[in-house]
């Protein structure tokens, strides 16, 4: 059995809005092993994205402990979290969020500017990342010259170019058609199976969920069910 990559202990998250406490996550306990592909599902407002943000170091819990690898995120300040994110996490968003004035290759290169690396080394990593997502022939295209699926592939390449331990995807297929969604999900599967990336993916789509090996169901901030994904579990066997 692989190591526990992510561990949450009694995590609470409360937002304060207009002098009202809004509990979003309530007493969450969770373990994710290295190399697992975990899907987060639940109705709107269930806390899925909040959980993703906490694990990704974009936010801090109101109470409780979050360990990712050897790092305890709840004790880090903003600067430390930002630095930790740059080395350990790759984000994939629903709307891709590529910089429109940069080419695909330049968008992928962006995270590498945070590291001391030669231009040649950066170039090599960018080419590798775009090769993995199957877009080597679109390196010099700008986002407005790419389809939605291609843009998301570039976003995935950007997420993996720093070789992070963790990939966090928030509704990565939310803006794509069924065929393109399937391509993106297969790509995530590839990253998980071939490259051993630990992936957490938020989705509303049960078909997308079937690509994970484990599904967490949240409702009103509480982890209601934690079960292996039947289809994936069969494939694993």
């Amino acid at each position: 059995m692989s190591n526990v990559e992510i561990e949450l202990r009694d995590v609470h998250k409360v937002y304060y809005k207009n002098q009202i406490d809004i509990p979003v996550l309530v007493g969450l306990n969770l373990q994710v092993h290295e190399g697992q592909f975990v899907v987060l599902m639940g109705p709107s407002g269930s806390g899925k994205s909040t959980l993703l943000h906490l694990i990704g170091g974009l936010d801090t819990p109101t109470a409780g402990s979050i360990r990712v690898g050897d790092s305890f995120l709840e004790s880090m300040n903003e600067r430390e979290l930002t630095s930790w994110r740059s080395r350990n996490v790759g984000f994939i968003f629903q709307m891709y969020h590529l910089v429109p004035v940069l080419t695909a290759a330049q968008n992928v290169e962006l995270p590498l500017l945070l590291f001391k690396m030669s231009a040649a080394e950066r170039r090599k990593r960018v080419e590798t990342a775009l090769n993995v997502v199957g877009l080597s022939d679109r390196m010099d295209h700008r986002p407005n010259q790419l389809s939605g699926g291609q843009e998301q592939r570039v976003a995935i390449a950007r997420a993996i170019v720093t070789d992070p331990r963790l990939i966090l995807a928030d509704e990565p297929t939310g803006d794509l058609d069924a065929k393109t969604s399937e391509e993106i999900l297969n790509l995530l599967n590839l990253l998980n199976r071939e490259f051993g990336k630990t992936i957490l993916m938020v989705t509303h789509d049960p078909r997308a969920a079937s690509h994970g090996e484990r599904t967490l169901h949240l409702d009103k901030g509480v982890l209601e069910r934690d079960e292996p994904t039947p289809k994936r579990a069969v494939a694993a066997v």
């Binding site: 994205s49 943000h53 990704g56 974009l58 936010d59 903003e78 600067r79 930002t82 630095s83 994110r85 740059s86 080395r87 984000f91 968003f93 629903q94 709307m95 969020h97 910089v99 429109p100 004035v101 940069l102 330049q106 290169e109 962006l110 995270p111 500017l113 945070l114 231009a119 950066r122 950007r158 928030d170 509704e171």
Partner: protein
Amino acid sequence: MTLTYVLMQNLRRNPLRSGLTAVAFALPMGVFVVAISLVVLLIQIGEIAEKELRLATRNKTSLTSMLPEGHRRKIEGLDPNRERLRAVCGMRWFGGRIPGEPNALTSLAADPDTFPIVYSDVGMTADDIAAWNAKRTAAVIGRGYADQYRWAVGDRLVLQSTVPPYLELEFHVVKIIENKERANVFYLRRDYLDESLLAAGEEAGRCNIFWTKCNSAAALRSLQAEIDENFANSPEETKSEDENAFGANFMQAGGDLPGLMRTMAFVVLYIVALVAGNTMVMSFRERTREIAVFKAIGFQSRRIFTIVLAESTLLALVGALCGVVPTAIGLTLFPMTQLRIGPLATIEVSPIAVVASLVIAVLVGLAAGLWPAYQALRLRTVDALRRIA
């Protein structure tokens, strides 16, 4: 790729907006360069004036009210041993224009014997002085006029006075002044003018101003007081001032030009800052989500602050260059001699003005970018990402 490259590419994000902002910078900066160059020119004229130690004595009432030529002898009589003054030159406004042309040249009739002494900075050689003395119709003209009207030494020309009795007189060019400060002036002999006035039945022997060349600054100050004291309580009281003060008052008579330039410069800066600030605020608002993603990727808040600030500064600098460079080239290739505004026509683009414009553009860019950069610094990634979703 570098962050500087990303920064520059961001300016291309909305080319129309960036272009309009750059134009909004370019025009005012061009005006600013001209304004500052003008102020620099006025300072330079003032410095030269101080060096020449000339004292201007005019009618206390106004410059247009004339004084009798006898005032010259009385001024000279204050220092018979010539310890404090070297010479006195009476001048009368001629205001000649080329027949058929609307505007008058800056043309003054000067006492021929003392003009070369009092105006030694004109640079008349012994031969020039000999030619000036030999011909009643001699004229000494500035390089600006010479180039504009294609006059050369030896040329004959005719000017018609724009003041009564509107004499039309013939002149012969004996000297072209190369000094930039005197590019657009025309000196004729006052004895020639007086003869012509008398021949026309008009009163002669009057001057608008007497220029006294002093031997020292102290002599200038003492003579300044003495001359006016000497003519106090007379029918034609005088007001004496050094050339610098005379020039400043002369400019003030046509409106407070330096003050106007300063006001214009501040108004320009204010407008430019508002335009730049508006552009940066709009740009930031459109890119909130993108900035959130940058932070999510791992860019520190301070770095993003710097990027936003640098973008604003770069936009301002590019805009300023778009104004400064064409203005500098334009003024160099097309000097303002056509405008016939006396010494101001010799305005050149001052390096001080160029540097000042670019520095001010940078400062304005920084100021305009400060608020959006601060907002970017404080942007909570999670909140911005939620807005995205």
